[in-house]
Symmetry: C2
Subunit: 506 residues, 2 copies
């Protein structure tokens, strides 16, 4: 009988993936549910990860000429109504402010008072309120392109929420650009998608597929929606960033016009693009294991924790001195434009100390005891390896080699995820095989199914809808690297020009 | 007859200070009013300033062990009601969410639907919602101190708004800490006030008075409120940051309890402290002149603009090459832990180009023409000097001396402001003199009055209220550096232990 390996997270991924996720969020101390319906509290360890993601993205945006600005939280109802598809897409799930003060009610408690003439919607996205400013900022082709980004909170009222993945309030950035030509706006849409893909792959170590959404999955009001899609460890897809070419739809709705070089007035072409705290959920579900989260070094809140071990009181001073000395040397070390972030944990709480850092996913744990000091070495554990695998390394070698070690962890996480995705992505050409692939082997664990399928699709909304209804499977994207190839639609058998990616999704 | 000097801003400060402020905000392109009542749009030049303020403060916070986190935008009404003084202070001006979707109304337009069982208040400040989390995070003295900060937006419904100074929505940070003892919480309250004072003086070049609010001016629910107060150029005071010792009031209201080392349960001691985009208004009113804003170099969105001048087409290539070369050399230069931020403005718009940068307040303008290139020199103008004062400097000398030059501008702005405050701060001991000091010389310009007064006060709320009613003058603070000194209350003549600062205020 196989001995069950002890894990820090109960249940494990295979036992109950969904509950495993919630337990990892809790055990890693990244976030918690709040008493406010559907809203989360992002705790310091989770927020530090978000700050690193923000900083990385923000730098990349600015390198392309984007600047940050800030627009109102509230959107007048009449603004939202300017674009018909847009309001249709967001009206069903928004927080509505109707009053501007509280006063004593007839039964003693406070009640809303000061009714507003026009209700205000808490922004679910800001195309319409930003479009209003842009209509004033743009008057000539000389004002273009206009490249603006905003970091903020948004609210989309959700009935079924899950921390980081789907919450009523979340943090994100939304970029909004204005261009003189469709070509330039389309190029910008692609450029920003590439930045999201770089963030995902280079920083989060999450491999993604770049592609285009089908018309039914587009952002409400967009002409074209590009996206990056990642595979989670339950083989479901997670959309990790989207970039929209809005054509002249929002420019027309908001009156964003400019005089061209020939002094004729034209409507401008706009784009918008966003990524959110959802990325954190994707990171957890890509790299987490049955011991907790694993932080990719490029965005880890901290890179390394030093764990001094002094069993006898008289050893303590020497161990602490050696530890603090090592911390200084490490903090002086640069790793990809930032100094190494180093924790010292000298709490006297026994084995719980190491496990806490394993659950939090810090890339490197370093134990330092009297024997290590005598040998001028340290005992190093990588979070991407089994937790008992620890190596004694000479101190100087550790310090000089730590950035290479972190890069190796980063690379290893990425290739593990890429291998996993490859192992669970198949090409299917027959309808029965397709249906079987998405049917769970075990009815009690509907989450365990095949993965991603590259299959042909006739481009009809009907086939797309039928598959969604039958299997809860959607077309995640039409990948950019999908070659033209004659085939037959997996659903109706009619001709198809290329394969698309089908999957269950978050 | 004196010739009127041409200024970029109309009206000037002496003609109409309040309108001058609005015009500087507009001319510097920092922000604009939005169509949403009381909300502002912070434009890129204003937001970049805010980003620099944020970065500076955030680094200072983190050096003291504070970490960032994020809490919900919405506060259930029942939470706000937990602390009686607190809800009293904020109920009259808050945005209330009552519905969670929109649907077609009987007359065709969308109307609020999905009424919430309990209204949600958009956070005016987060003591109560953060207190709820803290009550779960703290259980033992080992969990203390807990040092948390949040960067976010808050909403306080304002009827009379002014960009940056008083808006319904504004951006800020709010720090919240929990301690095992009153002493430690009191020390932290002072420590954070010192950080605000450092930010104001070292970064914003705004001299401030550190002190304590009178009971009637305290934060609703606080035991003690510390503040920094600055003098604007209309001699009114602006509160630029506050730090509150909350005693056990909010810990009791939210149930933040811990087990002490003796295993007895106690309520914890908390603090909160905040600074907001209001600082930008204070910066404008401290340093702005009749040509626009002047950006202190330590927080300037950009440090220097290069203005290539090529009157003939054939000169253009050489001038641009020289300019770009210089920009590279400057961008490689470090100034207080950041690289120099350099703009190149090669637009062909004549004299408007230079004036635009003057109005935006960039610390240094550098003109580069063929003659300068021939002499290997540049033509430099400092924003803190009259706009016609330009100096020819050898290129190498300019590059090697630019950080000293920026430091000199920073220092000059601070000393000008300190001199101004000194010139308009007086000690008054007689009631008639006090009343005369605060009475405008010209009834048509009520904004022009004396300034700050150091006067005695008997510590009664009645005298404080009487002066406020008679003169619209309040006690800005009881300064920390006010020595014990027997005196007579400026209002009632009764004994007073020390002088306080009286002023009109924003």
């Amino acid at each position: 009988m196989a001995k069950k390996i002890q894990t820090a997270i109960t249940p494990t991924r295979t036992e109950d993936y969904s509950e495993w996720y919630q337990q990892v969020v809790r055990a890693s101390d990244m976030a918690e549910h709040s008493p406010v319906r559907g809203c989360m509290v992002i705790k310091p360890w989770g927020y530090a990860l978000w700050e690193n993601i923000q900083r990385s993205l923000d730098d990349m945006f600015k390198e392309t000429g984007v600047t940050n600005a800030y627009f109102p939280l509230f959107i007048p109802l009449s603004f939202l109504e300017k674009e018909a598809e847009h309001v249709e897409g967001f009206a069903k799930e928004c927080a509505v402010v109707t009053h501007h003060r509280l006063e004593q009610g007839p039964e003693g408690g406070l009640v809303p008072a000061g009714k507003l003439a026009e209700p205000l919607v808490v922004r679910p996205t800001s195309e319409t309120i930003i479009g209003d400013s842009f209509s004033r900022w743009v008057s000539s082709y000389r004002d273009l392109p206009l490249l603006i980004n905003q970091w903020c909170n948004v609210v989309r009222w959700e009935m079924r929420t899950r921390i980081f993945l789907r919450t009523s309030e979340f943090l994100w950035q939304e970029g909004h650009t204005v261009h003189a030509t469709a070509e330039e706006a389309i190029a910008r849409t692609g450029q920003m998608l590439d930045i999201y893909a770089d963030l995902a792959e280079e920083y989060l170590a999450v491999p993604v597929i770049r592609g285009r959404k089908t018309p039914s999955e587009r952002f409400p009001g967009a002409v074209d929606t590009l996206c990056i899609e990642a595979m989670m460890q339950d083989r479901k897809a997670l959309q990790a960033g989207t970039s929209h070419f809005l054509g002249q739809n929002f420019a027309t709705a908001s009156g964003i016009k400019f005089q061209n070089a020939q002094e004729a007035e034209e409507y401008a072409w706009t784009t918008s693009w966003g990524a959110s705290t959802r990325l954190i959920g994707g990171l957890i579900m890509t790299h987490g294991d049955d011991d907790g989260i694993i932080m990719p070094p490029r965005v880890a809140p901290s890179h390394v924790v030093l764990l001094p071990i002094a069993r006898k009181a008289e050893e303590r001073a020497a161990v602490m001195e050696y530890t603090e000395n090592l911390a200084r040397a490490l903090r002086d070390t640069w790793y990809h434009h930032t100094r190494l972030r180093v924790e010292i944990d000298d709490r006297d709480i026994g084995g719980a100390r190491g496990w806490e850092w394993i659950k939090k996913g810090i890339p490197l744990r370093v134990e330092i005891g009297p024997r290590d000091i005598a040998a001028n070495s340290v005992f190093v554990a990588r979070r991407d390896k089994p937790h008992r695998e620890k190596t004694s390394v000479r101190r100087d070698q550790f310090v000089s080699g730590i950035t290479a070690l972190l890069d190796d962890i980063q690379k290893n996480l990425f290739s593990r995820a890429a291998d996993y995705r490859k192992a669970h992505t198949v090409t299917i050409d027959d309808r029965d095989g397709f249906y079987a692939f998405f049917t769970p082997e075990n009815a009690e664990k509907p989450e365990i199914h095949g993965g991603f399928v590259r299959a042909h699709w006739c481009e009809s909304a009907e086939c797309e809808a039928k598959i969604k209804e039958d299997l809860q499977v959607t077309i995640r994207c039409i990948p950019f690297d999908s070659p033209d190839e004659d085939g037959r639609c997996i659903c109706c058998g009619k001709p198809s020009p290329r394969r698309v990616i089908f999957a269950k999704a978050y």
